[in-house]
Symmetry: C2
Subunit: 431 residues, 2 copies
């Protein structure tokens, strides 16, 4: 076969759009991803908070490329990349050679080197983590209902979210709504509204990537929803008992970690220039200076424009994936690759019902208008007609009923080792 072989590692937003853009060129493409599904990460927090089911935000990668005969999909994990021989090694030892390699790995949760914090908290990067968060949150209320130890109940019903970026804000807002609205009247001994949601960040405001006015509004909204916002506070320690923030210890059974991301270890092994988080420095052609046979796109790319790195968000990954088609087309034609130019598409974050913030250029939206914008943008961006309808249905249902349609705990029945220990002592029910 004489056409070039392009290997794309990762089928997130960047990888997906790269493949779609590249597939129309005279190349053959192998997509490698460790999961069978493309994940619509912006709505992952809704799976964690029982608003959506896992298939609503996952779409089979294989199905995405169904109609592209020059695209082969492999569910496998890349464990090694050798640039000298242009080979990629998979988890089972198989090697794949490439003419061009596209790295679109996405980021992983960063616990800043604290393995103990990683164990004591849970991040939100995968469907498995989302379902584990759902399980812990629902089980916390179940266990709280059965304990008579007020202190244990208080810790069980304290949910701490570390990191006040969009994911942290969205998680905190959804948890507050679950406690105050969704679960109302479902319990006999415990009052779910007594649950505390604490949002912590070392930065001096929530949503630091947004305009300060919007941060202020988001803080106001969170406060109105009952979330305790602790900004400008540093996490000193986290363990199974709770979290130490500055000089205050907050007993908490559930600490969600949305505080930072880093590039997967694989990127460190490539010999490319990287920033502190491991992002690979790329030029206008989206390749590192060290190797034009490699492209790096999406969150793991460190791309500077006007002297500053552009943000690691979905619209950037999508734009870079699309641009890669032009880069490779130009190279195949023996021409110079057109430079990637970042255009800010704005930013959106939701806080709760009828509460969101949006900025598009100098336009700032808040409240109900921003919320409807957020809903619309996310429905439009979802992949698959069924997923769009299903998400709309769940949202419409949640809107009229305050209920959440995915309050089902899947994994770890009682007694399995990964179930959290029930609080003691527990007493029989009495009237």
């Amino acid at each position: 076969m004489s056409v070039p072989h392009i290997v794309v590692v990762g089928a997130g937003f960047g990888g997906l759009h790269a493949v779609r853009a590249l597939a129309h060129l005279p190349v053959r493409i192998t997509v490698i991803d460790r999961r069978n599904h493309h994940l619509f990460q912006p709505l992952l927090y809704q799976v964690a908070t029982a608003g959506l089911s896992a298939p609503d935000v996952g779409y089979p990668i294989r199905k995405l490329f169904h109609g592209l005969p020059n695209v082969t999909t492999w569910m496998a994990e890349v464990t090694k990349i050798d640039r000298a021989t242009r080979t990629v090694t998979l988890h089972d030892g198989v090697t794949v050679t490439y003419d061009h390699l596209v790295l679109a790995l996405g980021m992983v949760t960063n616990h800043f080197g604290r393995q103990d914090w990683a164990r004591a908290t849970i991040g939100l990067k995968t469907l498995d983590e989302a379902l584990e968060i759902r399980r812990r949150v629902i089980n916390a209320f179940e266990f709280a209902e059965r304990t008579e130890d007020a202190e244990a109940r208080r810790a069980m019903l304290t949910f701490v979210v570390v990191g006040a970026g969009p994911t942290g804000v969205e998680l905190a807002g959804a948890l507050a709504e679950i406690a105050r609205k969704t679960l109302m009247g479902d319990f006999r001994r415990v009052d779910p509204a007594q649950a505390r949601v604490v949002l912590v960040d070392a930065a001096d405001r929530v949503l630091p990537a947004f305009h300060p006015d919007l941060s202020k509004r988001a803080w106001h909204d969170l406060d109105a929803m009952g979330v305790r916002v602790e900004v400008g506070r540093k996490v000193v320690n986290v363990d199974a008992r709770g979290i130490q923030i500055g000089d205050e210890f907050i007993p908490a059974a559930t600490v969600l970690w949305a505080a930072g991301v880093k590039a997967p270890d694989l990127t460190k092994t490539l010999g490319f220039e990287t920033d502190r988080a491991g992002r690979v420095k790329v030029g206008p052609d989206l390749s590192p200076a060290e190797d034009p046979a490699v492209s790096v796109i999406g969150d793991i790319a460190w791309f500077e424009q006007d002297g500053a790195p552009i943000p690691g968000v979905a619209p950037v990954a999508i734009a870079q994936g699309k641009h890669l088609g032009k880069v490779v087309a130009a190279r195949l034609a023996g021409k110079e690759a057109p430079p990637f130019v970042h255009k800010d598409k704005g930013a959106l974050a939701t806080i709760g019902r009828a509460r969101a913030v949006a900025q598009v250029g100098k336009l700032h939206l808040t409240g109900r208008v921003a919320w409807w914008t957020w809903l619309l943008v996310h429905i439009m961006s979802l992949i698959g007609f069924h997923n769009r309808l299903s998400v709309m249905l769940s949202w419409a249902w949640a809107y009229v009923s305050w209920n959440r349609s995915a309050r089902v705990v899947l994994q770890a029945p009682l007694g399995r080792p990964d179930a959290p220990p029930p609080p003691q002592p527990v007493s029989p029910p009495s009237a």
Copy 2:
């Protein structure tokens, strides 16, 4: 508190309807279930075969009893029952005393004492099992795509279903549709239609609980869909390599076990008369002769009418749950309990698109008419408005697209110990 305390163990169809019927009496009720959700078991096979998401067939038990103030829900596992002291002991050692105990435990998978068969197969009684089946089926095709070992691929793409009752027939039919329709065109090296689905039963026909004419039609439908039906064949052995049926060994990576059920071990400890499967013999008042303070309903009850045991199906469990309200009401009023009378509501089983069988009294339906009846009955029986709409949406989508909306594998990313071993050798993709 002077009103009697009724403890209901199990919130399946029997327990759910018992609680609803009892809640209007002057009693207080504690419902104990090890899961947080009521499971709509008739559609569980669709979760396993990626047609529905888990929350579609699960409903929070707590929410079901939301509006009944005298009902308390506990997520806990009953480990011991002491009839002498009328106490129930939970997994964490807590004891609950009852005035009346309702056992609605449901059945567990029966491997006829073969622990090794239990390990080599997977049953379909819980959402966790359904998702594990989904994972194995989807992963089998993924691994088959990567192997060049024809023998390994053949084993990987052989799905054996043991047990040709409704669940086995529904699983086999759905697997055949996945291979021949859903996955068509999604793979580059493997042809999913080459997958083999084998349905095995020791009985001499499929759906032995149905009229022989309907069994014949179901066999015909399965055959037309490409399922190899092996009735009158006994399973001799099952291990990780495959299954021995009579004198034929079929190499198969996935063996689904729908061959039998038995009562949970707890029922053995009660000192009641039981049948071979552990069902507790009950009289017309749904209590065992040995103890009127206990009621046993649903699949674990052995109730005879006209000299034969009535079947363990959802409509019977529902009817017994409802009847229990009358029994307890009568007893509270010092009257004799009215006898439970079983009325056959008929039986339904689906095989595939536009293929089903139904019998209601002497009326037999097949094909498209039976299928629409099946769809309608199941939609109507589902709990929750959102779940009904969501299931309808998924079915409508599947009907127009042949796609299945839940083709997402959640658990066990590659490299986790519970992932099946990928077949060896695997070679790099070539054109």
